[in-house]
């Protein structure tokens, strides 16, 4: 039984964190977010191969599985770095054949699954209809669609690949409170698409679990940084003649953050491996990670803001970036309530009254 990351994974985290330290300084992140233009960073992620993590080496990837992807997004979130292009692409790639993946990666292009980021990715697939390879329909709030060159469009039990620059494709960006992620509405009007070989149902099922795990890992990364900021602040700030970290309520809050973080790490990594290895209860593990880790991240965000007081509410403080990131992760790819509905169905309870 392996109770820590293996040395290769540790080296990977170290390398990626080091790279982020150099290439995604707080000032740069600010610039990308405030300017609403993450393309510089996205380009770097692609050019340096970080987007090829989790892809087989045979397909031009870096190898590794869902756990490595989780480790990647955890680090991205920790810095509130722009992540939609990366996340959308790693979720969409498995829909493509090996050869195509290799091409996409080589060209530094991004992809996205055309499904609402509000729901588990394997929801309703009837929004878009196909007629002789011409696709028509609208899907709202697609994560990273505004960044994607390629759109993977579910149509019933089929998948189509559509160039986002193709005729009949309209991508309308949406404004999220969390500026480190972007989303858009995608409207297809007789847009031409190529039918892919993969079955939509099984692909989306797997994608929904992978997405849940990655949203959890994202929340974990944000929570880690939120905890660090809070602890740091509480040792420095004094009130009533004592560092605020000496007040019991603050101590409990800080300890609870850390305990939640440890629990979240176990849950998120375990779920990553469970989904990767297709364990029979992988869907429960993914749902548990999504629900509990994202909730813990949201709680940590609240606690960290409370510990900071008004200073945490300022625009200049990094806390707000992480706060919003952790909050979005709760609903990203399906709020806990949505996952609960599916699990309830599995439990053999009666259908809705």
């Amino acid at each position: 039984m392996r109770w820590a990351l293996d040395p290769e994974q540790e080296m990977f985290v170290e390398a990626f964190a080091g790279w982020l330290e150099r290439c995604a300084s707080p000032a740069s992140v600010r610039r990308w977010l405030d300017g609403a233009d993450p393309s510089e960073f996205e380009g770097l992620l692609a050019a340096e191969g970080w987007i090829a993590v989790g892809v087989d080496e045979a397909a031009g990837g870096q190898g590794g599985g869902l756990l490595e992807l989780a480790l990647t997004i955890e680090q991205l979130a920790r810095r509130a770095a722009p992540s939609s292009a990366w996340l959308a692409t790693v979720l969409a790639l498995p829909a493509l054949g090996e050869e195509m993946i290799e091409t996409v990666l080589a060209e530094g292009r991004f992809a996205a699954i055309v499904a609402s980021a509000n729901d588990p990715l394997d929801g309703d697939t009837s929004a878009v209809a196909a007629s002789d390879g011409a696709l028509t329909g609208t899907v709202e709030l697609v994560l990273g669609a505004d960044r994607a060159h390629l759109l993977v469009v579910p149509v019933g039990s089929d998948l189509y690949l559509v160039e986002s620059s193709a005729k009949g494709v309209t991508v309308s960006p949406r404004e999220l409170l969390d500026r480190s992620r972007t989303a858009a509405n995608v409207t297809l009007a007789d847009a031409s698409g190529d039918r892919l070989a993969r079955d939509a149902t099984s692909f989306l099922r797997a994608a929904s679990l992978r997405a849940a795990v990655l949203a959890a890992a994202d929340s974990l990364g944000a929570a880690t940084r939120l905890r660090e900021l809070a602890v740091e602040y509480s040792t420095q700030r004094t009130q009533f003649g004592a560092p605020i970290g000496s007040f019991q309520a603050m101590k409990h809050a800080a300890a609870t953050m850390l305990v939640n973080e440890e629990a979240s790490r176990s849950l998120a990594y375990y779920a990553a491996e469970s989904v990767e290895n297709e364990l029979p209860e992988a869907h429960l593990h993914a749902a548990a990670a999504k629900a509990q880790v994202a909730q813990a991240g949201s709680d940590t965000a609240e606690s960290s803001l409370t510990m900071h007081g008004a200073i945490g509410y300022t625009w200049e403080h990094d806390l707000q970036l992480l706060y919003k990131r952790a909050k979005l992760d709760v609903s990203l790819f399906g709020a806990p309530a949505r996952w609960n509905e599916r699990i309830a169905d599995d439990l053999g309870l009666a259908p809705d009254n």
Partner: protein
Amino acid sequence: MDFELSEDQTLIRDAVTEVAARFDDEYWMNKDLDHEFPTEFYNAMAEGGWLGITTPEEFGGHGFGITEASILIQAVAESGGGMNAASSIHLSIFGMHPVIVHGSHEMKTRDLPRIVNGDLHVCFGVTEPEAGLDTTRITTFAKRDGDHYVVNGKKVWISKAMESEKILLLTRTAKFEDSPKKTDGLTLFFTNLNRDSVDVRPIKKMGRNAVSSNELFIDDLHIPVEDRIGEEGKGFKYILDGLNPERMLVAAEALGLGRAALRRAVQYGKDRHVFGRPIGMNQGIQFPLAESLARLDAAELMLRKATWLYDNGLPCAKEANMAKYLCADAGFEAADRALQTHGGMGYSEEYHVARYFRESRLLRIAPLSQEMVLNYIGEHVLGLPRSY
């Protein structure tokens, strides 16, 4: 007991609601995004005479109590104007209390009518970066020099300073370490916010962006003696008088905000259909909203009790603190649930509930944190030992 609003109170609520309704959510969203003071709204309130709701009639106001003021400010927040609307008029509504009670007749004659007619914008300069919640620790110093004081220091989180002509400024005229009691040696002024001596820098923040929050760098500000309120060294006491009503107003704002959020969530729950039925039919959506209503209603009763006690000259600190706690809590919870009702989409700038959420979160931190309220209740109501 009697749980009915008086006729006047009902009239005030309805009339203010009518004025506020002229400014829709789009108006507030744009003001918030553009970081622009809601002048049109402010003027409409001034024209209606509402800024003088608690100002004595002899100075042009209505002479009502904190009950009516809280009903007014709740209606304003509840309209969807939220904290942007409330903060634009907050100080005019009750902030002049120290001037009314302790100010000179000249000061009152000179300034109060201009506050009532909206001409005079004011702000409240108390908090400092190093003092935090412990007001006695402020260090902005006013040194007497003949017929004036020379003031130096730094203030932070001063709402509306950008837009204000005058400031209610708390200073020390004796240092903390030289004062027999820590609450001694503080002196309050009501004076011009002279830009030649005060550098006002807005602080960018997560929400409530239509009304500025500012840092003030005060460098040799000269204040004439006649701008002093009451006696030198008694400033803390004058401020203290207003603490409970201040909590009540903040409670009212939080409450209004929560009701605005709940209203939107309920509407969305009725309008939005998934799988052929309104999402509000789901108990997972409906129960949290129902519970929020119960909590908002209960918090409102506590607020009403607090204002009733204050207006009747009875002790009200317990109820004022509880009202602040319960309203801020129920308001934030309602906003949070409204966001969840809207799905992740609620977490988008395009939806007003996201604005309510950001604003209601602020009210759990400022001007008084929930934890400080619990400290108060624990120590002064339950009689447990001081914990900090």
